[in-house]
Symmetry: C2
């Protein structure tokens, strides 16, 4: 990539960003768009206009985002969003602190030397040399100037340790604050019990669980709820809900038809065959009512059967105090430790019910199989990515696809293609994965949504590092050196070091594209806006349907986090080789922090709250990036620049591992389990236990049931008897 295409790419991105910002400023003033730009506020019952009044100033949102306190963020979008913002600001801090030293020191050191001729990329045009002159490639081999770069690695590492340590402490306190709030949360009184052994003959699972916990926690046990196989009940319930929605919608249509010419209106009809295209024509309102009346008793019957006969080997156990539940969740209950396994219960809304009854060893095996699949996918995805990066240069394109020669020869198309083609290909690849990974993670037998998202994000991180970073970096040199890798696997570090500088401008453009176009789209919410208006005009009839059309969703950490991680990895790895990348990283995370704060305050509504449980995951991956960076630098400085003192980098690699270990010992267990101290800080009164219990009743079992039906008391798990 030459200098002109780099500038073109940057310029185009900037123009797109400016256009998107204009669109955002203009669109958010329209009252009809409030549900798109302030859905979070509306759902929390706040006035969306409150923000709008000040929008004469198009940058008012920045002031708001910066000005809001962390408590406001927690109140608006939960601890998870706040933890994510801490993550963004921590990385920002790492890059700012690194840049303060690296930019003024390393750039002059590199620029005043003259070793570039020997190593820079092949087709750099004259002016682009200026950028290359600012990179480490310009320093002569074995030069004592390399000490500056070596010490730069130390500086970046220690800045990272410092910032991460502070941030971990901060998030831990935030989590403890949320956990010790006086607000009653059902999950804090509940323990999830899995791997329950078969009940003794003649005893129901419910009695089995009750007698076990009654004996072990005579004073604090409240009651239990057995997990049931709700598949069939759920199906009936969904069908019922479908007819209800249809009924509501049809009634609106009918009412609308009344107001016009005919006062009696026109009763809507539909066909009951395949997709409503064939079959008998019926009056929709009557048909829905019939169906509802038909399904209701069916559901009730199924509910009773489910509760009585479809009890599974998992349960939720409720305690009448927070410390008792916390303590029980951390204590081994049975001598057979793979039975009666206990853990803190997830929130009701994020429980993955079908995973709960999965057995101990089944979970292990599933997890093993899933990781096998992920491993294979990581390696097979490498092939297309390698092709993309091999085609990066148009020279290659012309060589391998000669029929494209004519099109590509036109200078405009050529420039645009060169600038965007590889990056877009990458983005598309990366967009296909998250759905698959969340699905795979849920198949592992994980009990909660937030855990599944974390697990998926972890898997995505492998992809990102292996395929994008290593793939593009090494892939650029791959056609020449595939044989070398296979024959001498140890040379990967050398290869990595030698390939990095060549890919520097590729990643500069990639990062710029990401933040200008990505954050522009994110902030302007053009896609949701268009979809909402289309839906509203053509599809939505009832209020509920409109509300569904603008429902904002949550941050989508499973995709968002690994993408940020990719940028961190890239920026860290180039921070010393080409320090000019640091300002790009700073803009990415600075802008990212601003936009995410705005979205947290006004737009997104969390689907679940895990109280920042994601943090150790983020922490570990930043350290992994750091270590990858250190190893790469060791290879680059030692092997490529032939610097004798490169082994001085080994202590810093070791210290990263020590830092990771110390952090784990110092903080991790407090994320995994709630410390007793924290649980005791909340209120001491016994809350309304009944409401805690009902919070966990799945909708398909709860809403339609006769609540005072006592006849199946002994066999039923969801019977709502009073506390013992």
């Amino acid at each position: 990539m030459d200098f002109s295409s780099f500038v073109t790419s940057l310029g185009t991105s900037l123009v797109i960003f400016a256009l998107l910002m204009l669109a955002f400023t203009w669109l958010q003033r329209k009252p009809g768009n409030a549900v798109i730009y302030y859905p979070g506020r509306i759902l929390r019952g706040l006035d969306p206009l409150e923000g709008r009044k000040r929008t004469r100033n198009p940058l008012a949102w920045i002031k708001e985002a910066v000005g809001a306190s962390e408590a406001a963020v927690v109140a608006a979008a939960g601890v998870d969003a706040a933890a994510y913002l801490v993550f963004l600001s921590s990385v920002l801090a790492i890059l700012v602190f690194s840049g303060i030293i690296l930019l003024p020191v390393l750039l002059p050191v590199a620029a005043t030397d003259n070793g570039a001729q020997s190593t820079t990329g092949s087709n750099s045009s004259g002016t682009f040399k200026n950028l290359d002159k600012l990179a480490m490639g310009n320093v002569q081999e074995k030069s004592p100037r390399l000490w500056a770069f070596l010490l730069g690695v130390y500086w970046v590492s220690f800045v990272t340790y410092y910032v991460l340590w502070k941030a971990y402490k901060h998030v831990l306190n935030m989590r403890a604050g949320a956990k010790s709030s006086p607000e009653v949360k059902p999950e804090e009184f509940t323990v999830l019990v899995r791997d329950i052994p078969a009940a003794p003959p003649g005893q129901s699972m419910k009695d089995h669980v009750d007698s076990f916990f009654q004996a072990l926690h005579p004073e604090t046990f409240y009651r239990s709820m057995i997990v049931t196989d709700n598949k069939k009940a759920n199906k009936i319930w969904e069908e019922l809900e479908g007819y209800r929605k249809k009924l509501a919608r049809t009634e609106v249509v009918y009412a609308e038809s009344k107001t016009t010419s005919k006062p009696e209106g026109e009763r809507p009809t539909n066909r009951i065959g395949f997709l409503g295209l064939v079959g008998e024509k019926v009056d929709t309102i009557n048909h829905c009512n019939e169906k509802i009346n038909e399904l209701l008793p069916k559901l009730e019957a199924e509910q009773e059967i489910t509760v009585r006969e479809k009890q599974k080997a998992a349960a939720l156990v409720f305690f009448n105090s927070k410390p008792a539940a916390i303590s029980a969740a951390q204590t081994i209950h049975s001598q057979k430790i793979d039975t009666w396994t206990v853990m803190e219960a997830p929130e009701p809304r994020q429980v993955l019910w079908t995973n709960l009854p999965r057995k101990f060893y089944e979970r292990q095996i599933r997890s093993f199989v899933v990781y096998g699949i992920v491993f294979l996918t990581v390696f097979f995805y490498m092939i297309p990515i390698t092709f993309v990066s091999a085609f990066t240069t148009l020279k290659n394109l012309k060589k391998y696809l000669p029929f494209l020669k004519k099109i590509v020869a036109q200078p405009e198309i050529k420039t645009v293609l060169e600038a965007f083609l590889p990056q877009i290909a990458l983005l598309v690849f990366m967009a296909l994965l998250p759905t698959l990974l969340v699905f795979l993670s849920k198949e592992e037998g994980i009990p909660s949504e937030s855990h599944a998202v974390r697990a998926a994000s972890g898997k995505y991180f492998y992809f990102v590092v292996f395929n994008v970073f290593l793939g593009v970096t090494i892939g650029g040199a791959l056609f020449d050196s595939l044989k070398t890798i296979i024959n001498h696997p140890k040379q990967v570090i050398t290869l990595l070091g030698s390939s990095l500088p060549k890919s520097a401008t590729f990643f500069l453009t990639f990062v710029a594209l990401k933040f200008f176009v990505g954050y522009g789209l994110e902030l302007s919410r053009l896609v949701p806006l268009i979809i909402f208006h289309l839906k509203k005009r053509f599809l939505c009839k009832t209020e509920a349907e409109v509300k569904e059309a603008w429902a904002p969703g949550d941050f989508g950490y499973a995709t968002r986090v690994p993408n940020d991680m990719l940028i961190i990895t890239i920026v860290l790895c180039y921070s010393v080789i080409a320090p000019i990348i640091i300002p790009f990283g700073v803009v990415y995370f600075g802008l990212g922090w601003l936009v995410a704060r705005n979205q947290a305050l006004k737009v997104y509504v969390p689907n679940y709250e895990s109280n920042g449980r994601m943090w150790p995951h983020l922490h570990a991956r930043i350290i992994a990036s750091l270590i990858l960076y250190q190893i790469t630098m060791f290879g680059y400085i030692g092997i490529l620049r032939k610097f004798y003192y490169a082994p001085f980098l080994i202590p810093v690699i070791v210290s990263s591992f020590v830092f990771a270990y110390v952090c784990k010992k110092h903080f991790y267990l407090a994320f995994l389990n709630t410390p007793l101290e924290v649980a005791c800080r909340g209120t001491k009164e016994i809350p309304n236990m009944e409401s805690i219990y009902t919070a966990y009743i799945p909708p398909c079992l709860g809403t339609e049931r006769l609540e005072d039906d006592d006849q199946f008391e002994d066999a039923r798990s969801f019977s709502l008897k009073t506390a013992p």
Copy 2:
């Protein structure tokens, strides 16, 4: 080693064994020796003669040992001894089951082939060929007969899995039984708290701990005991005890002098200078009384200072119920997880007080340093062992030490030397280590004696495997192949495989020596007997001194277990190469089981009771031996016997790892922490909490104190106030 020296060695061992058995039969009948042969019984207040009446039959002890129930063993020597016996019987079962198939199948398969010429050792004499014919070395390379040996490895492995699984379950139940016994054990109501942060200014450590636990366990907290720095108090107390002993002894001497010629007797005197050899001559009784009267107030003053001012950052916290203590020991208390760390308290008698206040990271670093030292020692010990095995053959001896030629030339000396020299050298080496290792393990900051013994035993196991087994095996070929190892470290497996058969007879003799002489000495207790009689005649004056002279001690697991492990490793590794070793192994563990049972029932008195906590340690090391065996066999069959199907052994290696993992998941946590179910099984009444508390007062602080001294109540940790 040739056949005649093998037979000589075996014969000599057998003769020694017979002599020792005769000595045992004869000596144990003498009433004066009862304290040597039945000290356990005497200490438990049983009649030692009860066993003696039947000793007309010299094998009566075998009947008794076999006949006793496991409950009797537990009652006599505790769960630890019972678990050790399960270990011996499990290994016995593994070897018996293996032998049943391997001996009748593999011996004929080997004997009827004829490939030995190419590989057997150099100086085997004619007749010794018969033994070699029964080994795998006799099978031709690439022969399909090797399938039998390959399947033999599978058979041994699956037998091991089966037996170990059963045994783990058995020991777990035994442990649970002991933990849920209605007997009140102080440690079951106690939690050890370490890493206590500094008390807030103006608050004593005691108040700090009390208020913390009172807040978190308002209903179950009883009181706390702060660990103090007792070094000085202990010194004074020991001095005091010394004078008391001396006084008692001198009084006996004085009384004895009375009864003879002079009725007023002769008051003993001594000099108070260096070693009682110089200085002023004083009347011993008066001198001791003076000293005692002088030390008593000094001790009391020091006790008060210790309790008030030498409080350290560790404490024992007492709860008024077992489940509460168990649950608290498994719950994270503080948000800073490296403060207020909790664990189940060790028994009072095995607490290592000085280790308790060591800080979290100090322990980590100490552990790291200790393992570094052990690593270095393992590798530097290898040098002498290598020399020993190089000198194994007299040929080498004569070559390197020509002046020995004359002595060695005499046939009797030559045979004896050849038979025993290397084995004895080994035994001496191995005897030097345990003290060092127990010391090192204690330096790690481990809180209890039993844990330190386990840790030392683990380190000893590394020695045994690396130095004895690998050292002797590879060392035999070392002078030729040292260069090969250094240049091609991967060839160690090849080397191991190729060296094993040559060392087979060495190990046969080693095992035989171990069981005949070792167990003979163990059973006849000749050494303690001689020491006791010498002490009794020349040193002991008071009853207490006599009792001390015959105090039996405990099993000494730190040395015993790794030695057994060495035998297991040897026998397993040769089980298929030379199945003839299996009967030797069977005799070793059979005899070992018998002798250990006898000693457990009659002799040894446990120093501590860890309720079989040692088992996971034993289990893991048997599996480690098994895996070493499997890898060696892979090298031997695949590389040395050039069998194409050797990779069929890879699944069995993998399955060993899976088995180890499953066992850990299935059982281990229940050993680490007491399951709540088990803790709840005992009695429900609140025991005498005062006695539980006083059990933990160290002797130097407890015995002399004024128990109703209330004036330092708020500052003192050991004040004996009543329950709140």
